[in-house]
Amino acid sequence: MISRSDALHMIQQTLTSLHDSGMLEKEVTVQDSTPLMGTGTSLDSLAFVNFITELEDRLNSETSRDNLLLVTEVAGWDGSCVALTAGALAEYISRVTS
């Protein structure tokens, strides 16, 4: 199982990696409220799909199993807006890896 705080740490590592590779222009310091999708996010569509892919790779390596992250299954995502925060994603990761 990945704890919520570990998940947030992985999200931070992934965003830092994207920044180091040049895919993210600005460095992002992750907090619960950091937007990953929607208003205020630093991730364009290309960066976002790369972010999810790299985050899955990290999770797979950590848990030694095949994980699938589906944004549409994050708790609280109701389809009426396209938005996702780091905190909500960390909560979801903790749930799907338990």
């Binding site: 569509s45 799909v49 999810i52 892919t53 992250l69 589906l70 944004v71 549409t72 389809g79 396209v82």
Partner: protein, 225 residues
Amino acid sequence: MEHGYRQASGPWVIETVVTGGEWQENCYIVQCLATGEQAVIDPGDDAERLIGLVDRTQGPLRQILLTHGHHDHVSGAEVLCRRYGLRCLLHPSDARILRQAPNMALRFGGKRMDPVQSYSFLDKSGVIPFAGREIAVIPTPGHTPGGVCFDFGSCAFPGDTILYRRAGRADLPGGDEALLAASIEGIMERLGDDTVLFGGHGRPWTVGEAKAWWCSQRDVALGSH
């Protein structure tokens, strides 16, 4: 019901249906003139509309084929699979991209799509039986790891590997520009000049036209994304 554009190609009738909104992807309904059997290639969206077109033509739907797993080419697949009791076919190397398609649909298109669950992998034989013939499957990694081109003889469906006067993009997860170039060249080596390429977006053109363009524009095309 809005019809697609139908044209004959050898033993087939090809109906081009532009689906979706922002991406305007091509879905193709291929019907065998002799048997009436149908195949759907890349049902990107508008599943109910596609069902209406397939049912109107009255031949049995035998295959649902995916050139690759990106959301704009698979969003309608699950609904079609359930409606006709079929499993769509794709290359195993695109399984992950197919599973991630709902994320891409949301982020790129702002749309919610049903995950595609009714799928099987293309086997290693390199052919698909359809309407008493064998459809060749040409692996074309580069746009995605498991991209393929379906070769129907008189026509072929390369997905987003090569589009009209444009190479596919290689900057999405799993993309590889060198592999993409090799795949484009592989398509041109393997298919005859008169074969019509029906790409994932845009208008069709012949392999001969594509070769002439590729020879003069290769470096520009690969650097354009």
